[in-house]
Point group: C2
Chain length 194, copies 2
């Protein structure tokens, strides 16, 4: 992506480009569909992205930027490990529930084949987040002197609980944001810190 | 699918048809690709399935058959609610880890657009399984007189933990089957039945 784009327009482009991917699927979406969605000429689109893979990579990378900005950065301010982990659970659930962010973040979970170099970069960012979550769990375990489960298994359990929400959540369903945060926090804390 | 197919060959056909979907993505796979994978003429393929949507539906339906056969049916024999739920967790995790079943079951989680009638039938089976899991959890809560979390939230938490495994599990990774079953069972029981 060229540098002359401002951060704001860059985000708009990625949001708009994500739409045909979600609606038609990655494979069925052509560069023509994306340039139409962006109201750009095909030449204009190729000026920003060399390929469809590159667009997908930038959307996934943006999803990780959003996660960093909306979950990792805010909780770093919190000194108490338990409060920090509770805030992580709340902010990550809210990220999954917020429709505008979900348009982008859900694309992280699709199994689109990216070229190895780009896939490696996305996977490195996903791993970095997993390690961050593990670290928060490990710190609470230290404080609570709780060791019955490994922080690796606990981190995958928590990420599964939260990342799976998009598969079942309905904005008109019985289980809504505040209750979901409260119940998931309770289940996870009792489960991981016995 | 026509009735002259035996159950065995029907399953083989669905397994083989699932391969190009997984490897190339649903949209990029043509009926030609599927007939080539099945070593059938295009006419022969259309004799069994009227459309690609119908193939996808049958694969998803087969995934739910496998879940019923390998998780629901065996645990119905177990009288004790706690033992029954422990067996559900074990058998569902094993289903997710077994490569041959995963080829089929992973397709359930992809967000392919099915025509409304077929989508409704798949969703009804998914819901039936969610209710089954909720019911197992509710029975353990009754026995343990534990009520701090709802069985709805607990069921989604458990299904998230287990269904998410395919996103991170590696057969050469640090967390392997027995340890994973033991840790997830421990986290879930302590979390849901306080």
């Amino acid at each position: 992506m060229t540098r002359e784009l401002t951060t704001g327009s860059r985000q708009e482009i990625l949001h708009t480009a994500a739409r045909p991917f979600r609606e038609q699927g990655y494979d069925a979406t052509s560069m023509n569909d994306i340039s139409a969605a962006l109201k750009l000429s095909k030449g204009g689109l190729y000026h920003h992205f060399r390929s469809k893979d590159e667009i997908l990579f930038h959307i996934m990378n943006h999803a990780m930027d959003i996660t960093e900005e909306k979950v990792q950065v805010p909780i770093r301010e919190i000194a108490d490990p338990e409060e920090r982990l509770r805030a992580l659970i709340r902010l990550h659930i809210q990220l999954v529930l917020r429709a505008r962010d979900r348009e982008i973040t859900v694309i992280l979970h699709e199994n689109h084949p990216l070229p190895p170099g780009l896939r490696k970069r996305v996977n490195a960012r996903k791993k970095e987040y997993i390690h961050f979550v593990e670290q928060q769990i490990a710190e609470v375990q230290r404080v609570r002197k709780s060791k019955s489960v490994t922080h690796r298994a606990a981190a995958f359990a928590l990420l599964g609980m939260i990342n799976w929400i998009y598969q079942w959540y309905r904005s008109d369903g019985a289980l809504q944001e505040e209750e979901l945060i409260q119940q998931y926090t309770e289940i996870f804390f009792a489960g991981a810190f016995q």
